[in-house]
Symmetry: C2
Subunit: 159 residues, 2 copies
C-alpha cells in the first residue's frame, strides 16, 4: 500500500511537469523555438531535442526496451547547441517528444508498485544491495527535476 | 524499510537541488544578483527572496512551527518583481536563505520515516483519508521541482 502511494507521488509530479513542458512547447511557434531562451544560451529547439533524448534514455535504463531515437544524442546530449547543424526539424522533434512521453506512460502503467523499487540498469547488483534507493522510481525523481529546470528556461521564449 | 528508502530518495534530491542553487548564489556577486535572469524577467535577488519565502512556508505546512520570515511574502510571493521597492538587502536575503534551509534540515533529521507519510497542514483529515499521497514527503517533491525550475533561470546570471 505504501509503495503504491509513493509511486503515485512520484508519477503525479512527473506527469504534472511533462504537462507544464508540453503546454510551453504547444504555445510556441516553430519560429519561436529557433530563438535562444536568453542571450547566448540554448535555443528552444535544442532544449526540445535535449529533453526528448533524455527521456528516450529512460527506455533502456528501466528495461523497457531499445531506444526509439538514439540518433538524437550526438546533437542534443553530447554536444552543445550550435556546434552541429540540426538534421531534425521542429515538427519531427515535436512528434518524437510526444511519442517518447506516451511510450513511457504505457510502460509506467504496466509496472507494478513493487517493480518500481527494483534496480535500474545503470547500477550493479552489488551496489544496489548496499544502495537500495538507486531504484527505478528514483530515476523518475531526477528526470522530473531535469525537465523542471529546463521548463524554467523555456518559458522565456513566450512573448 | 521501504518508507526509509523512499524518504532517502526524496531528501537526496532535495539536498542535491538546494546545493545546486547554493552554488549558483555563492558564485554571484551582489551586483550580479541585481540583474534580470533574462531581458524583462525576474532579477536574481527577487528569485533569492522568492525561494527563501517559499521554503520558509514549509515550516507551518509540515508542523515545524512558525515562519521565520513571513514579511518576505508581500514582496517575493504576492507581488511580481519590481512592483515594490525591496526592503531587504542581498546580504540579509543570503543569510535568510542559508538559515531557512538549515532550519528545515534540522527538522527533517528529527522526522521518523513513517511521519513523512502523515498529512501536511494544507489538507483536511477527510481529504487525506481519500488521498493519502498528500503527505509531508510529497510537499518536498513539489518544492524540489520548484527550486530546480528557478535554478535553470538563475544560471543565466553567470558570466
Amino acid at each position: 500500500m505504501t509503495n503504491q502511494i509513493m509511486v503515485k507521488m512520484v508519477l503525479d509530479a512527473w506527469y504534472s511537469k511533462i504537462k507544464e513542458a508540453d503546454d510551453i512547447f504547444n504555445n510556441l511557434t516553430d519560429e519561436q523555438l529557433q530563438n535562444e531562451v536568453a542571450p547566448g544560451r540554448n535555443r528552444g529547439i535544442y532544449l526540445l531535442g535535449h529533453l526528448t533524448a533524455t527521456h528516450d534514455g529512460i527506455l533502456p535504463l528501466l528495461n523497457f526496451g531499445d531506444r526509439l531515437y538514439p540518433q538524437l544524442d550526438e546533437i542534443f546530449i553530447d554536444n552543445p547547441d550550435k556546434s552541429k547543424p540540426l538534421t531534425t526539424s521542429a515538427n519531427e522533434l515535436r512528434a518524437y517528444w510526444k511519442n517518447i512521453n506516451s511510450t513511457l506512460a504505457n510502460h509506467f502503467d504496466k509496472l507494478q508498485p513493487d517493480e518500481w523499487f527494483q534496480k535500474h540498469n545503470a547500477v550493479s547488483q552489488e551496489d544496489f544491495s548496499k544502495q537500495p534507493h538507486r531504484n527505478k522510481l528514483n530515476t523518475i525523481i531526477t528526470r522530473t527535476n531535469h525537465v523542471s529546470y529546463h521548463s524554467g528556461q523555456l518559458v522565456f521564449l513566450r512573448k
